[in-house]
């Protein structure tokens, strides 16, 4: 497989994963701007596990676990505790940034030595199977939300939670499940970053990818299938940048590629009348 395509896919996968998780949570009516923090935690956990065990599989598992823990914390404070999810997410990002920087310094010492972590082995078709699995996610989410009963209930939790309440179901339970899923997805996404794209950890290495996932969800108008082309585009843009850099051209830092989708998302919001497809109960506390 050509280098360009490979890099593009590798760059898209973590983004798609985090965005899919965030989409599920937002469809359920909550919003986790701390996805960036969860990604960082996942990345750091993967880094630490990879260093310790030398196994990239362990790194992935650790990333998943770290993100899951983040999702659980969010569920406790923002869903069950009914605190404003944006505020919780803001505080969580602070904790995650600080916490991972703290942890990294302790692990790596004050020296600037770069510690490497084993990469995922490429399987068939030149990419690790884990990465391929990510691209199946949008379809799974799409089907899940529309055909399964839990999926329909999740959508109801985001559009009209009182209706779920009237049925005797717990909106908190639905949203907690969504929070755990989105946390795990973001954590795994961060882990993927470490074991595929860059084999080490750097403070703040996610560089806004978590926020970018939020932008992607808005840009996709909360429809899972649209996440796929959007994230592939960004992956391709990133691969283009790598190629330009390699050939000695200008090196545009990642922040740039984060802004473009954000701008497009804003434009999309401006152009659509109404709320642009956002779930009606987005951000409202569970009844």
């Amino acid at each position: 497989m050509s280098g360009f395509l490979e890099i593009a896919l590798l760059l898209s996968a973590p983004l798609l994963l985090a965005a899919a998780g965030e989409l599920v949570l937002e469809r359920a009516g909550s919003i986790q701007i701390g996805a960036e923090g969860n990604m960082l935690i996942g990345a750091f956990a993967a880094f630490a596990a990879g260093l310790g065990t030398g196994s990239s599989a362990a790194a992935l598992a650790a990333g998943l676990a770290g993100g899951l823990a983040g999702g659980a914390a969010f569920a406790v404070v923002a869903v069950a505790g009914r605190a404003d999810p944006i505020l919780v997410g803001t505080a969580w990002n602070l904790v995650a940034f600080g916490g991972t920087a703290f942890g990294y310094r302790l692990l790596a010492g004050a020296t600037g030595a770069v510690l490497e972590v084993p990469r995922l082995h490429a399987g068939a078709l030149g990419l690790p199977p884990a990465v391929w699995a990510v691209f199946a996610l949008p379809l799974l989410v799409h089907v899940g939300l529309r055909t399964t009963r839990p999926g329909l209930r999740l959508v109801a939790a985001g559009e009209h939670p009182e209706a779920l309440r009237a049925l005797g179901l717990s909106v908190v339970a639905v949203r907690t499940g969504a929070a755990l899923f989105s946390g795990a997805a973001a954590g795994l996404a961060g882990a993927l970053l470490v074991v595929t794209v860059s084999p080490t950890f750097v403070e703040g290495m996610t560089a806004g990818r978590g926020f970018l996932a939020l932008a992607l969800v808005v840009f996709a108008r909360w429809k899972p299938l649209r996440l796929l082309p959007a994230s592939l585009l960004i992956g391709a843009a990133g691969a283009l940048q790598v190629r330009l850099q390699a050939s000695g051209g200008t090196s545009v830092p990642y922040a740039f590629f984060v802004a473009l989708p954000a701008l497009l998302a804003l434009l999309a919001l401006a152009v659509t009348p109404g709320r642009g497809g956002a779930p009606k109960a987005l951000g409202a506390p569970a009844p």
Binding site: A83, V88, T90, A91, L94, A255, G276
Partner: protein, 339 residues
């Protein structure tokens, strides 16, 4: 209003106690001694004239961002975009600053006004999207933050770049325009008292002016405000723009008083810390300012901490985040008690 009530004292004591506990845990994890750590923290924040100066310098932008967050929160709006608005204010100052030449005070005033205006203008799309398209401000301001970060990245490598420098940053402001330190050997400038004054002003605005009363009504009960005949949408829009101006001004002051130029990345998330301070301070101007000062002290002390004991300075971010999470878990309301 000047008497500090008993519940607030208890709350402050609880915060102080929690901070000590959290710090102790982190210090032990890092393998250092709590006693040494505490000494380094205190010494680095208030232990000497230089340390105090460091704290006050950091406090300037924090106090302003916290005051901006309070303004928005009391109107019932969540301005998550403070960080992006801060960056835009800094960018404006970095862009306009090197061009200014005239009398220092006039130049500084123009500079700071430009910075504040830049912050407000940057929030305008969010206001428009909210009023005309029903888009929740949280969504649009988060997206705008991403745009702001990218804008800074581009500016310091493009139009504003200082060709003479070895890594990307903007052209420096002339020393005549930059604010001067209040005392030798200290980084603190007149920026800090200005920030305090403005924060106090925002508090007075909220509690003593007609517009402030209407704003508080719209934030406390939008349904009642509407039924009573208040124009709640313009009030909220005004609050959002005002808070963005505060953040923009903070960015401008950071450039004019502290760094003299813009670089990438800039500010280390001061907008988000300001929001955290507002939440910790109970969304009143007084409490938010106190919390901002506290965070600034923590920040100043933590660099001494890292230097002397090896405990990473990142504690200055972890502790505020955890404190706010704790408060959110216990309090559960957007607008807390009045200051």
């Amino acid at each position: 209003m000047t008497v500090v009530s008993r519940p607030r004292v208890l709350f402050a004591a609880a915060i102080a106690a929690s901070t000590l506990v959290l710090l102790a845990v982190l210090v032990l994890v890092a393998g250092a001694s709590p006693g040494e750590a505490l000494a380094a923290l205190v010494g680095g924040s208030v232990g000497s004239g230089a340390a105090l100066g460091e704290t006050l310098t950091r406090a300037t932008s924090l106090v302003l961002c916290a005051a901006g967050a309070v303004l928005a929160l009391r109107a019932g709006v969540l301005n998550i975009g403070l960080d992006g608005q801060f960056l835009m204010g800094a960018a404006a100052a970095a862009a306009v600053g090197p061009l200014l030449d005239g009398t220092p005070n006039a130049a500084r005033l123009a500079l700071l006004l430009a910075a504040a205006a830049a912050g407000a203008v940057f929030a305008a799309p969010a206001v428009w999207l909210s009023e005309r398209r029903g888009v929740p401000p949280v969504l649009s301001t988060i997206l705008l933050n991403l745009v702001a970060a990218a804008a800074v990245t581009w500016l310091v490598r493009g139009p504003l770049q200082d060709r003479a420098a070895d890594y990307p940053q903007s052209r420096p402001l002339s020393t005549s325009v930059r604010l001067r330190p209040l005392a030798p050997g200290v980084r603190t400038t007149a920026a800090f008292p200005v920030a305090l004054l403005l924060a106090a002003g925002s508090g007075v605005f909220l509690s003593r002016t007609k517009a402030g009363l209407k704003l508080r009504a719209a934030g406390a009960s939008p349904a009642a405000a509407r039924a009573i005949g208040l124009a709640d949408a313009p009030l909220r829009a005004g609050a959002l723009l005002g808070s963005a101006a505060f953040a923009g001004l903070a960015g401008g002051l950071e450039v004019a008083a502290v760094t003299g130029r813009l670089f990438d990345p800039f500010g280390s998330g001061v907008g988000y810390l300001g929001i955290a301070a507002a939440l910790l301070g109970g969304t009143g101007a007084g409490g938010a300012t106190a919390a901002a000062l506290f965070f600034a002290a923590l920040g100043a002390g933590s660099s001494a901490l890292q230097r002397d004991t090896g405990v990473p300075a990142a504690v200055a971010m972890i502790v505020p985040g955890l404190l706010v999470l704790g408060v959110l878990l216990v309090r559960r309301r957007l607008s807390g008690d009045e200051a």
